[in-house]
C-alpha cells in the first residue's frame, strides 16, 4: 500500500515537474545545447546555461507591453466578475428567487460547449457596436468575466451561505444601516473566500487563449498567450519560446505558492465555521 502510494505520487509529480523542467531547461539553453544537428544527444542540462533569452525579451518592448496587457485584462476580469458575481451570489444565498435554476443554467451555458464554439457568438457580439468602441483590454476583460462568472458566483454563494443570517439581523437590530452591515460585517467575513474567487479568475484570464485571440488578433494590443502564438508563427526557436513560457508561468507559480493556504481556507469557507 505504502509503496503504491509513493509510486503514484511519483508518477503524478513526474508529469507535473517534467514539462516545467524541460521548459526551464530550454529557456536557459545555449545554442549548442538545442541545435545538435543529430551529431550528439541533447544534454540533460545545458552545456553553458545562459540568461540571454531573458535579456532579449526584457529589451523587447512588445513583450513587456503584452505582459502589461495581460495584467490589466486579468485585473479587469477580477473586478468585473466580483462586482457582478458577488451581489448575484449574495442574492442567491439569501433569497428564494423564482426561476433561479434557469438563470444558473444560462450562467453556466458558455462553459457547456468547447470554448472554440462559444467564442464565435461572443466575439461577434463584442466586436460589433457599441462594444467594439471599447479598448481591446476591456473587451477581453469582459470575455474573461463571462468565463469566470459561473465559478465566481458558485464560490461566492458558498461564502455567503457560510455567513449566518443571524449576524446581519443582529447588526440590523443594533441599528446598523445596510451599508454598515455590508462594509463592517459581510465584507470582512467574505473577503478570504472572495479572494479565492479573485485569484481563480485572474489565473483563468492570465492563461486564456482562444477568446483573447479572437478579440485581439487584428490589433497590436494582445495578451501574453496570444503574443506567444505570434512569436511561434515567425521563429520557433525553442529557447526563446521557453523563456516566454517561463515568464508567463513564474508569476502563477510563485503566487500560488504564497497564497495556497489562504486559498484553501477560502474555498472551504462553507465547510468550517
Amino acid at each position: 500500500m505504502r509503496t503504491l502510494k509513493f509510486v503514484l505520487i511519483g508518477v503524478v509529480l513526474f508529469f507535473i515537474v517534467f514539462p516545467l523542467f524541460m521548459m526551464t531547461k530550454y529557456s536557459i539553453s545555449d545554442r549548442e545545447s538545442i541545435v545538435t544537428g543529430g551529431e550528439y544527444p541533447e544534454p540533460f542540462f545545458p552545456f553553458q546555461p545562459t540568461m540571454e533569452m531573458f535579456g532579449l525579451l526584457w529589451s523587447r518592448g512588445d513583450f513587456l507591453k503584452a505582459g502589461l496587457t495581460s495584467l490589466w485584462v486579468g485585473l479587469l476580469a477580477v473586478a468585473f466578475s466580483l462586482l457582478l458575481g458577488a451581489p448575484t451570489a449574495y442574492a442567491l444565498a439569501r433569497f428564494r428567487i423564482p426561476g433561479i435554476a434557469i438563470l444558473l443554467f444560462f450562467l453556466l451555458s458558455v462553459r457547456l460547449f468547447p470554448d472554440i464554439s462559444a467564442v464565435i457568438p461572443v466575439a461577434e457580439l463584442l466586436l460589433s457596436r457599441p462594444f467594439s468602441l471599447l479598448p481591446p483590454v476591456i473587451l477581453v476583460g469582459l470575455a474573461h468575466t463571462l468565463l469566470a462568472l459561473p465559478y465566481t458566483v458558485y464560490i461566492a454563494k458558498g461564502v455567503f451561505e457560510s455567513i449566518p443570517r443571524d449576524l446581519e439581523e443582529q447588526a440590523f437590530v443594533l441599528g446598523a444601516p445596510k451599508s454598515s452591515t455590508f462594509l463592517k460585517i459581510l465584507t470582512p467575513l467574505a473577503l478570504p473566500g472572495l479572494g479565492a474567487a479573485a485569484i481563480y479568475t485572474f489565473f483563468l484570464s492570465w492563461n486564456e487563449f482562444i477568446f483573447a485571440y479572437f478579440l485581439t488578433f487584428q490589433g497590436t494590443e494582445t495578451t501574453l498567450p496570444v503574443y506567444l502564438l505570434r512569436i511561434l508563427s515567425w521563429s520557433p526557436q525553442k529557447n526563446f519560446i521557453s523563456a516566454i513560457s517561463v515568464l508567463i508561468c513564474v508569476p502563477v507559480i510563485i503566487f500560488t505558492f504564497l497564497v495556497q493556504r489562504h486559498m484553501r481556507e477560502g474555498l472551504t469557507a462553507g465547510a468550517v465555521k
Partner: protein
C-alpha cells in the same frame, strides 16, 4: 424600562399562522417568559416585537406607542439570538461597542459603557479576545452585554441558554435572574424548557400552535393549569391524566382528571377511593424519588415520601385529596373551575 403590549398579533408564513391572534401585556420591569414546545411560534413572536418580522395583522405597542412600522433601532429594544450572533472577526470589546458606535456615542461614553458591561458580566481580561477564543458561557455573556450597553427599554432573549451544557445552564439561569434584579429592564424571554421558565419568570405565557393558552405566575400555572396541555407541559415529571370514570372520587366520563405525582399517596391496603395498581420501577431525580405504578390506564408516577422504601411489583392503591385533583372537560380540554 417599558411595558409591551401585543394586540391580536398574527403572523402568517404563506397560509400557515406561526403566531395566531396573540394578545399579551408585558408589565414594566417584568421578566416574562414565552414557553412552549418547539415550533409553537415563540421566536416569531419575539422577532415581531424586535422588528425582524412584519405582523400580518395586529399591533405591537411599546410604552403605549405603536411600533409596527418602526425599524428595530427606534423601538428601544435589544435582542440576543439563540446563536449569540457574535461578530466573529471582532474582539469582545468591539462586539460590545458595535451598537454604541452605530449610535454615534462619543469615545468616553462608549468606553464607560463597555467597561460597565465587562464588569457586570465578569469579562475582565477578555476584552481583546475574539469570540472563538471564548468559552460558551463567556460568548453568551458577550451577547448579553452587547444588548445591555444600549440600555434598552426591553430586552428580548431567544433561548439564550440552550447552547450551554447542563451545568453551565443552571449557573447562567441564576446569573440571569440576578442580573434582572439589578438592571430591572423589562425582559421577554423565550424557552422551550419549562423548568427554565418556572425558575426565571415573574410571569409566563404558555404557547402552543401559535396561540397563548395561559398567562400567569409560575405558581398560578402550576397550581391551576388552564387546560390539559398546560397541565401536562408544566411540571416534571409531568402530571398524570386519568379518565374521570376510573377515579372513584369523580366518576364522570366527560372529565379528564389530572393528578400531580406529589399529590398522590400510596396505600398497601385497599382504599375505596383509591386507584389500584402494581408498582413498577423507581426513578430517582436528585433529591426526589418517583415510583411508576402500572394501572389499568397505563403508568402513573408518584413521588415517594423520603422514608418510603422501594416497593417493587407489589399491589397497591393510589389516592389523592379531592381538592388536589385537576378536572378538565374531556371534549375541550379546558379546566372545569
Amino acid at each position: 424600562m417599558a411595558e409591551v403590549r401585543l394586540k391580536d398579533l398574527t403572523k402568517k408564513f404563506k397560509d400557515v399562522a406561526a403566531v395566531d391572534n396573540v394578545s399579551l401585556n408585558v408589565r414594566d420591569g417584568e421578566f416574562l417568559t414565552l414557553v412552549g414546545p418547539s415550533g409553537c411560534g415563540k421566536s416569531t413572536t419575539l422577532r415581531a416585537v424586535a422588528g425582524l418580522e412584519n405582523p400580518t395583522s395586529g399591533n405591537i405597542f411599546i410604552d403605549g406607542e405603536r411600533v409596527n412600522d418602526l425599524p428595530p433601532q427606534k423601538r428601544h429594544i435589544s435582542m440576543v439570538f439563540q446563536s449569540y450572533a457574535l461578530f466573529p472577526h471582532m474582539t469582545v470589546e468591539s462586539n460590545l461597542a458595535f451598537g454604541l458606535k452605530i449610535k454615534k456615542k462619543g469615545p468616553e461614553e462608549k468606553a464607560k459603557r463597555v467597561k460597565w458591561a465587562v464588569e457586570l458580566l465578569g469579562l475582565s481580561g477578555f476584552e481583546k479576545r475574539l469570540p472563538k477564543e471564548l468559552s460558551g458561557g463567556q460568548r453568551q455573556r458577550v451577547a448579553l452585554g452587547r444588548a445591555l450597553v444600549l440600555e434598552p427599554k426591553v430586552l428580548l432573549l431567544d433561548e439564550p441558554l440552550s447552547n450551554l451544557d447542563a451545568k453551565l445552564r443552571l449557573r447562567m439561569r441564576t446569573e440571569l435572574k440576578r442580573l434582572h434584579k439589578k438592571i430591572k429592564t423589562t425582559i421577554i424571554y423565550v424557552t422551550h424548557d419549562q423548568a427554565e421558565a418556572m425558575t426565571l419568570s415573574d410571569r409566563m405565557a404558555v404557547m402552543k400552535d401559535g396561540r397563548i393558552l395561559q398567562v400567569g405566575t409560575p405558581g398560578q400555572i402550576y397550581e391551576k393549569p388552564a387546560d390539559v396541555f398546560c397541565a401536562g407541559f408544566i411540571g416534571s415529571p409531568p402530571m398524570n391524566f386519568l379518565p374521570g370514570e376510573k377515579v372513584p372520587q369523580v366518576k364522570d366520563k366527560n372529565v379528564v382528571v389530572g393528578i400531580r405525582p406529589e399529590d398522590l399517596s400510596i396505600s398497601l391496603s385497599r382504599i375505596d377511593a383509591g386507584i389500584w395498581g402494581r408498582s413498577s420501577v423507581t426513578e430517582t431525580l436528585g433529591s426526589d424519588s418517583y415510583l411508576h405504578v402500572d394501572t389499568s390506564e397505563g403508568l402513573v408516577s408518584v413521588r415517594l415520601k423520603s422514608d418510603q422504601g422501594i416497593l417493587e411489583d407489589k399491589p397497591l392503591w393510589l389516592v389523592s385529596h379531592k381538592e388536589k385533583l385537576h378536572l378538565f372537560d374531556k371534549s375541550t380540554g379546558r379546566r372545569i373551575t
